[in-house]
Each structure stands twice: as structure tokens, then as C-alpha cells.
């Protein structure tokens, strides 16, 4: 979430889920909400149906939300920035911006104005395929909204230009004064249940818990004292994608993976496999023997969500309690306990926690945005951070008085072409994503008989016209090939997907989308180009 941090000084969902219903215009970009976040999708549908709110969807596919949308801006994959800049162009050209907000709360507007001049609707149509009329209409709708809320998800962040797309969205929200009030904002929907919490806890190479900079000497001194250690590194570490390279170069030799399956979830699975294979020692703790765990030297049985007490933090920054319902299966153990025991064996005594509550008390002590939260206070509906002290009620929407970084910053961003546009050899664009019935790499959901019965088999969506040209029948096996690999998968012919594109869900190990995708990284967020690459389809 580097983009939002740059613009606002904080990278989380600015507003709350419940508030979305009261936005008069909802702009949903790269989020198949009804499948990926069904209970947020439900609220969006209710906003449209029962409260007469206006929905605008920006997405290459005709996802289910489109049926409820006033407008569908069906752009080519990877052209979100052009569309957003085009909206800004029309909004500024026609004077729909929020002059007071821009003056009082932001900086860098002049540069933005200058840059978006070039994004005339005609040019945007050429780049993105979205017609001039539709773009202008969308700009009017959003520009005149009293409360405009923007929602986005992985469809945006998994492009090389993902960070820039988020910046473009932040520009749009600030230029129209849609930040710091109820039912507005820029709202990233997190994929997995505790992504927000993992980030909050400092499981990022550049920050301690609560987004405190690892390179800030004062912060480091604080943690040195709080944790009673003299080992703290003075610089940022490597991201996941950089780690795989460092392993292949022999620089990283020992790796501990807790509860993840990068062999399936990483964009270039062959590359990851090679890297893991080169390690001197790999430890994996998980609840199943995942593809990644199968490569380990030691596999530790983890406790499932029903077997431990603790907290998760949802996409709206809401910290909530989870509670132990049953004893861990067999000899399985909670991760925090295992790591604490390992610390003890390494001669470190400051992790001898007796309970998750004790861990949480420590978290609150060292994490300013969690300081006022305790298990006792979480007995109700949970608390949204920042919650700086014990009587603070939590924060439903951010940036009310000011931005975390002082003034909101406009950062002009240019549209960039896809890293791998289609060509003669690979004439189609592959996009990947989630489907309703499965979750992430399927390690959990594919073991559910009910969910598997709904969507047991991998499939690829192909437009009927492309299918006719290729001579592909419904349900037939086809071969998908990219410059990196190939796989066979069942064809699902549907006009949800436009011509010259195919869609492949990434939950299925036997047709792992990331065998085909690109490892090219977004230079800022280090998120790989996972969503789109060039492929060919053969019957």
C-alpha cells in the first residue's frame, strides 16, 4: 500500500465498510467485490438497490457488479491510470474540483493539473478503449457527488503500475474533496483475513509494529530498550520477491515460512521453487502439507483459527478477537508459542509469553495506533485503529482533521503500457484473479467438500468469438502458453470476458496461473506483475 502512504501518510482503508452505503457515488476499480469480498459486495448492491446510490465500475471483465452499475468503464487491462487521469481531466476542465479542500489540505496541485491536461477523453479512449461519452459521464457523476467513495482491490495493486494507480486514485479523491469525511475516501479491500494485521504488526521489511520506520534512530533506540536487545538491524530488509533472488545468489541460506504457500501464490512459481530448493535449511509451519511445506527440512504443525485465542485486524482496520473453540489437532501448536519457545532456546528470555493476551499487552505497549486496545475492550464489536489511549473509541474514518503526513500530496502519475503487451506469437492478454468459492491458493478452501463441489476444477474464461475462431468448444481442454510456461485447463466460454483476453483463477494447483505470469516488480511497492501477461491459446 505504498501509494496511499505516499499520498496520505497512511496505507489502510480510509473509511469503514458500513459507510460505503451512504456514499452517493461509488467508484469501484479492479475489485470483483461480490466474489472476492461478498459481504462488502452485498452492501454495495444494497446501496444501489435500496438507497438509490450510483455505482461506477472500472474493470476489463463484465463482473457481476456491472449489472447494478450506472456505468461500466470496460477498459483494456493495465489502463486504469489513463482512465483515472481522464476523469480528473474532465473534472478540472469543467471546474468540478473542490477548491477549498485543495487549498487548505493538500500540496502539489499545480503539477497535477498540468499533467492531466494531456489526458483528453479522446486520448484516453485510444489508450483504454473507454468511449469519450462514458468517460465524461462518469466524470460528471463523480465530480458532482457530495460523498464519493473509491473502492479498489488486487485488480489494481497487482500491476507493475499498481502503486501509481493508487496514487492516481488518491489524486482523484483529494481533487474532489472526498477524503476525511464519512462515506468518502480511498478504500483498499484486503485479500486475506489478516493482511492488515500482518502489516500493522511490522511484518514488512521497512517498519516496526505500527508503521514505525526501521531506519529512524529514535524508533530503533525505543525497540532496543523495549525488547532488551542489541541486535536490531539498522536498515530495511528485502521483500519477498527480492528474497528469492537473494537465495538464488546464495546470500540468504535459512528461511522460516509461517502459514504461507509462496510456491503457489508467488507470480513465478518455478523461480520460487528453485530458490527454496537452494536453501541450506527451510522451516515451514502450516496446518497442511502445502506445496511449500513439501520442500522443507522441518515442517511444524500449526493451530487453525478455531484452535487459538488471538486477534485479527480486518480490512477496515478493525481489531477483533478470535477465540479458541477446540484443542489443537494432534500435537499442533500455536505459532506465537512455538516462536517464543525457539527464542528461549536461542537464549533470549523476553518472549516467554504465557498467553496470547500477554503478547497483545506487549503489542499495545510498543504500537501507538494499538495503544488503547486490550482484550477486555475487544469484547464488543472490535476497535478500529488508530486508538491511542484506553478511553479512545477508535477511528471509523481517517484524515478528519489532517493527513497523517500533514498535507495530502498530489503525485502526478503517467499511464504506462503493459510490461508484456500481446503480439503475434502471444496474441491474447491473460488476467488472473479470485473466484467466489475459493480462497487464495486453495490450501484451505479446496479441502472443503461443499466449496469444492461448487467449483472443483480449474477453468479459463474465453470470449465466444475467440472460441469460435480457435475452434474451442465449451468444456474442452485447451493449452495456455506464455513465455514462461504452459498449462492445460478447461475452457469456459462466456461473454464476461471481452475478446482477445482470457481469465484464469489462481486457486488451482494443477493449473497454477503463476506458471504463466511475470515476475517484473512494481519499482515502488515491489508487487509483481501478476494480473496480466501475454499468452496464446491452442485447442
Amino acid at each position: 500500500m505504498v501509494g496511499l502512504t505516499t499520498a496520505f501518510g497512511s496505507g489502510a482503508m480510509t473509511n469503514s465498510i458500513a459507510e460505503l452505503e451512504d456514499a452517493d457515488v461509488l467508484l469501484v476499480v479492479g475489485s470483483n467485490t461480490t466474489e472476492q469480498h461478498p459481504l462488502i459486495g452485498r452492501r454495495i448492491l444494497r446501496a444501489v438497490r435500496d438507497k438509490d446510490r450510483t455505482l461506477i465500475v472500472v474493470d476489463p471483465r463484465r463482473i457481476d457488479l456491472v449489472e447494478f452499475a450506472r456505468l461500466h468503464l470496460q477498459n483494456y487491462p493495465g489502463t486504469d491510470i489513463a482512465v483515472i487521469n481522464g476523469l480528473l481531466h474532465v473534472i478540472l476542465r469543467e471546474g468540478m474540483e473542490d477548491v477549498d479542500f485543495i487549498q487548505d489540505r493538500t500540496e502539489g496541485f499545480a503539477e497535477l493539473r498540468e499533467m492531466v491536461m494531456a489526458y483528453t477523453p479522446e486520448r484516453v479512449e485510444e489508450i483504454s478503449g473507454v468511449s469519450v461519452d462514458r468517460l465524461v459521464e462518469a466524470a460528471h457523476l463523480f465530480g458532482h457527488a457530495k460523498r464519493g467513495a473509491i473502492v479498489y482491490a488486487m485488480g489494481v495493486t497487482q500491476h507493475v503500475s499498481g502503486t501509481d494507480t493508487v496514487l492516481a486514485l488518491a489524486n482523484l479523491a483529494m481533487a474532489t474533496g472526498n477524503v476525511g469525511r464519512r462515506s468518502t475516501g480511498v478504500n483498499p479491500l484486503r485479500g486475506q483475513n489478516n493482511v492488515q494485521g500482518a502489516c500493522d504488526m511490522g511484518c514488512l521489511p521497512n517498519v516496526y509494529p505500527g508503521y514505525q520506520d526501521v531506519e529512524d534512530p529514535d524508533v530503533r533506540a525505543f525497540f532496543q530498550k523495549a525488547w532488551e536487545t542489541d541486535r536490531l538491524p539498522a536498515t530495511s530488509g528485502l521483500t519477498l520477491c527480492e528474497m528469492t533472488d537473494a537465495i538464488l545468489e546464495g546470500k540468504i541460506r535459512w528461511l522460516f515460512i509461517m502459514g504461507e504457500n509462496p510456491v503457489l501464490s508467488d507470480p513465478d512459481s518455478e523461480h520460487v521453487r528453485k530458490a527454496l530448493d537452494k536453501l541450506d535449511f527451510l522451516v515451514v509451519q502450516d496446518i497442511f502439507l502445502s506445496e511449500t511445506a513439501q520442500m522443507a527440512h522441518v515442517v511444524l504443525p500449526g493451530a487453525s483459527f478455531a484452535e487459538k485465542d488471538g486477534t485479527f485486524t480486518s480490512t477496515e482496520r478493525r481489531v477483533q478477537r478470535i477465540r479458541k473453540a477446540v484443542e489443537p489437532l494432534g500435537m499442533a501448536r500455536s505459532e506465537w508459542r512455538v516462536i517464543g519457545e525457539l527464542a528461549r532456546r536461542m537464549g533470549y528470555s523476553r518472549m516467554n509469553w504465557k498467553s496470547p493476551q500477554e503478547v497483545f499487552r506487549e503489542i499495545a505497549r510498543v504500537t501507538p495506533i494499538y495503544r488503547g486496545i486490550s482484550y477486555e475492550r475487544l469484547e464488543g464489536e472490535g476497535i478500529q485503529w488508530p486508538c491511542p489511549h484506553e478511553t479512545h473509541p477508535g477511528t471509523p474514518f481517517l484524515h478528519k482533521e489532517g493527513f497523517a503526513r500533514g498535507r495530502g500530496r498530489f503525485v502526478p502519475v503517467e499511464a504506462v503500457p503493459l510490461v508484456e503487451p500481446p503480439d503475434e506469437a502471444y496474441p491474447m492478454t491473460l488476467i488472473t484473479g479470485r473466484i467466489l468459492f475459493h480462497f487464495h491458493t486453495g490450501t484451505l478452501t479446496r479441502r472443503s467438500p461443499t466449496l469444492n463441489a461448487q467449483a472443483e476444477e480449474a477453468f479459463v474464461e474465453i470470449n465466444p468469438r475467440d472460441a469460435a475462431i480457435l475452434g474451442v468448444r465449451q468444456g474442452q481442454m485447451v493449452k495456455l502458453k506464455s513465455r514462461r510456461g504452459s498449462l492445460r485447463v478447461k475452457a469456459h466460454i462466456t461473454d464476461r470476458i471481452p475478446q482477445n483476453m482470457v481469465f484464469l483463477p489462481f486457486h488451482f494447483a494443477e493449473a497454477a496461473a503463476n506458471r504463466l505470469t511475470l515476475r517484473q516488480l512494481d519499482p515502488k511497492s515491489k508487487i509483481p506483475e501478476l494480473k496480466a501477461c501475454a499468452v496464446r491459446v491452442d485447442a
Partner: protein, 135 residues
């Protein structure tokens, strides 16, 4: 009689609240909780959240092997942890903390994640800690 336990869905980031019904040491049913962002509803994934908890494929014991070519053998926690500690100590001595890395999980709790990054930074002294959710 069954027991009821209030918790949160393990799947997507919406954070729906759910009630687990436990009978004879097994989670037999999942119901949506009345309070919370989900307003007494769950999606199909949430309704099935109990189905993997007691799945026969679950790992129940630590697995160890000397090297990759070999088969896994079941071992005790003591053995697994001392193997981990030994290998970590050797690598730390030979090439230092920067040759060690950690990946945390967007499926684990805040407490688990906090513990892992603290271990990486305060015990090992490596800056290399990340999670997989950039994806």
C-alpha cells in the same frame, strides 16, 4: 449439548463475525453472529469455515528429514525445535544474520505475526522479514 464460541471468519479481509458450535471436541457448525460488519450473514466460504478444521490431511506432528531427497519422518517437538535451533546457530555463525529470512502470514493472528517479526529482529538480528500479501 453443544458449546458456542464467538470468533471471526478465517478467509477474506471483511472480518465477518461467526459463531462456532462445538460438540464432542469438534466444530460441527458455523453460524453468522448477529453483531458485526456482516449483519447476521455469511458468504458461502464463511458457512464452510469449519470444514477444514478436522480434515484428515491436517498436520498433527512435526515432520523432519536430513535432506531434501529423503522422506519425512515424524518427530517430537523437542527434536524439531533443536534441529531448527542448531541449523540457525550454524548459519548465524558462518554468514551472519543477513543470511537468515522470515516470511509471515496473513492467515495467522496479530500475536503470531508480532512474535515472528520480534524473533527476526530482536533474536536473530536480520532485517529480512516480509509477508506474502503483497500478492
Amino acid at each position: 449439548m453443544f458449546r458456542e464460541v464467538q470468533t471471526v471468519c478465517p478467509f477474506c479481509g471483511v472480518g465477518c463475525r461467526m459463531t462456532l458450535r462445538v460438540l464432542g471436541g469438534r466444530v460441527e457448525w458455523v453460524y453468522p453472529a448477529e453483531v458485526g460488519v456482516n449483519e447476521g450473514k455469511l458468504c458461502i466460504k464463511g458457512w464452510c469455515a469449519h470444514e477444514f478444521i478436522h480434515h484428515p490431511d491436517r498436520l498433527a506432528r512435526p515432520l523432519l528429514r536430513e535432506d531434501r531427497g529423503k522422506e519425512f519422518e515424524v518427530g517430537s517437538w523437542d527434536l524439531a525445535l533443536s534441529r531448527i535451533q542448531q541449523s540457525l546457530s550454524v548459519v548465524l555463525e558462518e554468514t551472519g544474520p543477513e543470511s537468515v529470512a522470515f516470511l509471515s502470514s496473513a492467515k495467522c493472528t496479530n500475536e503470531d505475526n508480532y512474535a515472528l517479526q520480534k524473533f527476526a529482529r530482536a533474536v536473530v538480528g536480520t532485517p529480512h522479514i516480509d509477508h506474502c500479501a503483497r500478492l
